[in-house]
Symmetry: C2
Subunit: 154 residues, 2 copies
DNA sequence: CTAATACCTGTAGTCACTAGAGGTTCAAGC
DNA sequence: GCTTGAACCTCTAGTGACTACAGGTATTAG
């Protein structure tokens, strides 16, 4: 009669595969405190319960939604306090939505400029290449403000 | 009669301000080889010519277009060989355009899902919060494939 | 001559992981 | 019981494109 915990415990590999991530990522989440330090078996290997599977699914799903790890941390904290009002959750989600929308906007400006530039190149030598020409001289852009592409990609 | 070079040389600060970046960035570009090692004055400070201002403007502009540093390196190399055909430039630009477009697509899927979720929350307690609920259970999403938000943001 | 500013080098931090080295434990087959 | 191979462990370093800081030197204006 070994003392079996009430629910079957799984290893890090199974946890990872069931949540579509890698063992390394699980250990990383533990290290940064998104997941609690897992209990170990006699051989020092992590054992997980169903509750952890659920928590990690929540994390992955929130990340899929594009929330930053810090935002996920807040969301988890909120989810851990179900009796509180959800204004904060709402605000966080709305702020994130606004950021996604602004990113889309900036990317669309960038796309249009890029499209326009590419379309103008008629495939001769680099000396006459419209793309190189536009890159060399910002005045040839339709908008003279920066497109802010590098930041739009973040 | 100090030996003045044919064109006035400027310091790193002025170069930076004229190209809308910071001295740190200029030194970084030199370190990774986008800019050649600058000649120094007697006090070991970098001095730049107009040619470098142009080169750095090209770099910044390409970065604004969202090209990666490695892509910029290739573009610079192509711009340095004006007599060659510009097919490669074209291909690079078209590939980048395609990537920008796919990023926009993925972000739009994400935005719709986020919008839908946020709209469904009627502001009660966390226990009934639709946002938390959706994050807890992927089946509540309209698409059951991952939205791939985190990757879309890269 | 002094004080403020600009510049120098080198290192470490950002974000969210990912990859690898070098070692230990587990599970299955013989 | 023994062996083998997979899975696990810790720790460190790498990614991209900078940014920030510490601790020192050079320049320049007054």
């Amino acid at each position: 009669m070994t003392s079996t915990p009430s629910q079957a415990a799984i290893g890090i590999g199974e946890l990872a595969s069931r949540t579509h991530c890698k063992p390394e990522t699980v250990r990383y989440y533990e290290k940064i405190g998104l997941l609690p330090a897992a209990p170990r078996n006699e051989g020092n290997q992590r054992r997980y319960s169903e509750a952890t599977v659920q928590r990690l699914m929540f994390i992955r799903h929130a990340r899929d939604f594009g929330f930053s790890v810090e935002a996920v941390r807040e969301l988890l904290d909120m989810a851990d306090h179900p009796s509180q009002p959800c204004d904060q959750v709402d605000q966080l989600a709305r702020r994130h939505l606004a950021e996604v929308e602004s990113r889309i906007q900036r990317l669309m400006v960038l796309r249009d400029e890029l499209k326009r530039t590419v379309a103008q190149c008629d495939g001769d030598s680099v000396a006459q290449c419209r793309i190189i020409e536009v890159l060399s001289d910002h005045r040839l852009c339709s908008h003279d403000a920066a497109h802010g592409g590098a930041e739009a990609l973040r």
